[in-house]
């Protein structure tokens, strides 16, 4: 192969990605992310989360600039100096655009329009050493990082994975500081803690280096395709083997879930409890949206119904009705509360579901959205204030009990355990439904409602079933939420809750239970819920922006979600050639299992 000249670069591509990079950095700075996130140290003392949000751009866009599509049946384009040139030039361009932004921000007072363009920000961006120094530094830095991006493109797959995993590991270790410190302290490993983390937050430089080396080394040493090999091994198992495999790892997972909350502190448990509450809702919404294909934007209504029902039944401060039940899940009284919550949720599912269920697609989404708001406004209304307390809500919801154990928000650990039990139930119910005749009916319904009806599927009943089951799961979440917070207000049940639960389902992978679990952990655990902080609590006001970005990126790059269901993957990749490829692997697996090819 003849060597390619270093200038054999797609300049249009380089120009475009360089500009995008620079504009992205300027945007991130202009909306105030750099300034707000500067408070969170990632690598002490050199790298704050704020700077990290700028620094990822040049290498990423440099890599994109160097990228060349590989076409099937054609020789892969030779890599080499040209990639470095493309990356560096894109980085340079990005740095220049960003430098220009700094100059403008420093020279003109634009705060009337761009409120976040403060002198503090300029100071931060110029490292407190003047505009000239700042701009020059950014151009050099950006060029260098762009070059790194290009270099990454030259590296073979494995090397790239090693670098990526090394960086990701440092990021995750810094991200999980709270939980890791808890664990280390439980095991009296203060020495490790002091080595890894700086006293006032952030991973230390030696710590970062060690973590990066370990992760990179492990990546290089493990042979690739571990996931694929696992999958084919799992596919080759017999039913009995699979069952035993499931039981074994299920027990390990349960043991982990029991032990983990004990070795981490209150804040981590609080976070886990929130993940659980949203996961419970997401599992319910997954039945409605993912399985039955009904886009319900008013799902928060059932969460609210569960919470208010619990409040009414247990709180001494409930305005009129105060039966003051004791919510002990190991007594008959507790079961009565549960039964009433389930009944009220099912009833509200029917009441909201029946009129809207005949609507399709967009209409269903809009009408359910309306119903969700109506429920909140009813709880807020003066008219029903004698029952629900209006804007004051209902306070003094007593803790719940599991026999002698008190379950209350003051001890998030107990909330986490309870929510985990309910999540377990929800997963079991969802899994059983999915693999039943009902699950098949839902799939048919989602695909073609008229034909499903002509096959004898009672479409109305199936849809209502999904709606009501979803409502009950959300009401469980509401019940635990009420006990956790100790009070319910209409303002806790806004549209944003429905939206975030829907985003969890979509990002995780519609119709996929593991996907929904991952979606809840990533979104609620890391970014945080509507009012609940996540691991990156500093995100605060930018949370919704990041939700939006994540959603857009996912829809463009991976519409089937992080962990798609088999069904959904098929739905989204309809191309024949993929189908053929799938058939080929299927045949290969059958052959490996020793079956005769059909």
């Amino acid at each position: 192969m003849t060597a390619r000249p270093a200038t054999d670069v797609d300049w249009g591509r380089v120009r475009a990605w360089g500009l995008y990079g620079g504009l992205t950095m300027a945007f991130i700075a202009a909306i105030g992310m750099v300034e707000s996130l500067d408070a969170r140290m990632m690598v002490h003392p050199v790298l704050s989360l704020g700077y990290l949000f700028l620094l990822w751009a040049p290498p990423a866009f440099g890599y994109a600039a160097a990228y060349e599509p590989v076409k099937e049946g054609m020789a892969a384009p030779a890599k080499g100096a040209r990639d470095l040139v493309a990356g560096a030039v894109a980085g340079l361009l990005a740095g220049a655009v960003f430098g220009l932004f700094i100059v403008v921000a420093a020279t003109f007072d634009l705060r009337e329009v761009f409120v976040k363009l403060s002198p503090v920000l300029v100071d931060l961006l110029t490292f407190g050493r003047g505009v000239g120094f700042g701009v020059a530094t950014w151009i050099v830095l950006s060029t260098g990082l762009g070059l790194v991006g290009g270099l990454l493109h030259v590296l073979p797959e494995r090397g790239r994975a090693a670098v990526f995993n090394a960086l990701a590991a440092v990021f995750v270790v810094a991200l999980l500081e709270l939980a890791v410190v808890d664990v280390l302290e439980t095991f009296r490993l203060e020495a490790v803690e002091r080595f890894l983390y700086a006293p006032n937050g952030g991973i230390t430089i030696p710590g970062a280096v060690v973590v990066a080396l370990v992760a990179g080394f492990v990546t290089l040493r493990t042979t690739g395709g571990a996931v694929l090999r696992f999958r084919s091994r799992y596919a080759a198992m017999t039913g009995e083997e699979r069952r035993r495999f499931g039981v074994r790892w299920g027990l390990v997972a349960i043991a982990g879930l029991v032990v983990f909350p004990m070795i981490v502190g209150g804040l981590t448990n609080e976070l886990l409890a929130n993940v659980g509450l949203f996961l419970l809702m997401a599992l319910g919404l997954n039945l409605v949206v993912g399985y039955a294909g009904l886009l319900d934007l008013g799902y928060v209504a059932f969460f609210a119904v569960g919470a208010y029902t619990t409040a009414l039944l247990t709180s001494p401060l409930s305005p009129t009705l105060k039966p003051m039940f004791r919510l002990d899940l190991l007594t008959v009284e507790g079961w009565v509360v549960m039964a009433i919550v389930i009944a009220v949720a099912a009833l509200s599912g029917l009441v909201i579901g029946t009129p809207v269920i005949r609507l399709r697609g967009d209409y269903l989404a809009i009408v359910t959205l309306g119903f969700g708001e109506i429920v909140r406004i009813l709880f807020l209304s003066d008219w029903l204030a004698p029952l629900f307390g209006g804007a004051q809500g209902i306070r003094n919801i007593p803790p719940g009990y599991l026999g002698p154990i008190k379950v209350a928000g003051t001890s998030p650990q107990t909330i986490f355990y309870v929510v985990t039990i309910f999540v377990g139930i929800a997963i079991y119910v969802a899994w059983r439904l999915y693999h039943s005749r009902i699950g098949r009916a839902w799939a048919a319904l989602r695909e073609d409602e008229d034909v499903a009806e002509a096959m004898g599927i009672d479409t109305t009943r199936m849809k209502l079933l999904a709606f009501v089951t979803g409502a009950i799961l959300a009401s469980f979440s509401g019940m635990i939420f009420a006990v956790k917070v100790g009070s319910v207000f209409p303002s806790s049940f806004k549209l944003i809750v429905s939206i975030i639960v829907l985003v969890i389902v979509i990002v995780g992978g519609m119709g996929s239970i593991p996907g929904v679990v991952i979606g809840a952990v990533v979104l609620i655990g890391v970014l945080g819920g509507p009012t609940q902080p996540g691991l990156l609590a500093e995100f605060g006001e930018f949370k919704l922006l990041l939700y939006g970005v994540l959603l857009v990126v996912m829809m463009l790059r991976r519409p089937e979600g992080l962990w798609p269901s088999v069904q959904r993957q098929r739905e989204l990749h309809q191309e024949e050639f993929l189908q053929d490829a799938w058939l080929k692997t299927e045949a290969a697996q059958a052959a490996a299992r020793g079956e005769a090819p059909s």
Binding site: R437, R440, A441, A443, A444, E447, D448, D450, V451, A452, E453, A454, M455, G456, I457, D458, Q567, R570, E571, Q574, E576, Q579, L583, E586, S598
Partner: protein
Amino acid sequence: MTTDTPVLEFRNVHTHYGPVHVLKDVSMEIRPGELVCLLGGNASGKTTTLKTILGMVVPSSGDVLVDGEVVTGKSTAEIVARGVSMVPENRRLFKRMTVLENLEIGAYLREGEDLEEDLERIFEMFPRVKERLHQKAGTLSGGEQQMVAVGRALMARPKLLLMDEPSMGLAPILVQQNFEIIQQINEAGMTIFMVEQNANMALSIADRGYVLQTGQIVLADTAERLLANEDLRRAYLGELE
């Protein structure tokens, strides 16, 4: 003609979509083992007739009888359970499900029954279907889709098979094959009610035919006599050939 109770009977059926009057005083009957076709031009109400049989639209007056029992106003699920199944217009497979899943949905109401035998029977009739069993239905060719659609309807073990324009959108050679298969299924004892625009083809395999024009039955006769009646066909069906 046999004297058994008709598998399907329409007694002065009127069907409306909202205020729009589509079927106007339709009466007909289909006896066990017959292959009857309903001919009619575009928008004459053929699909509406099938939907009325299945209870997907409810007649505004008149009665539909399946096996001598009035089913007017009963749910589609109930009517399907009584042994009526349909191959819809344009086949309408569940495109993103596999062929096998499509067939299983066809047997939806036969809860818990063993489907092996039925599947074998379908594979015998359509060896192609067996080859494609785990492929997404949407990736099949038109002819294969037709086979799966017929198979899906047969999985319900119906007494009466409804077919909505089976020749629509198929290449001429496939149309020919398709009609041969319909004929075979009929000869094996299945009662079939087929809706068609392609009058020549349909009448060549049918026992009897009805002609529908703007929602009214304008002609009912044996297939031979209808075939011979060219002028009528031209007048009512507006045939192109």
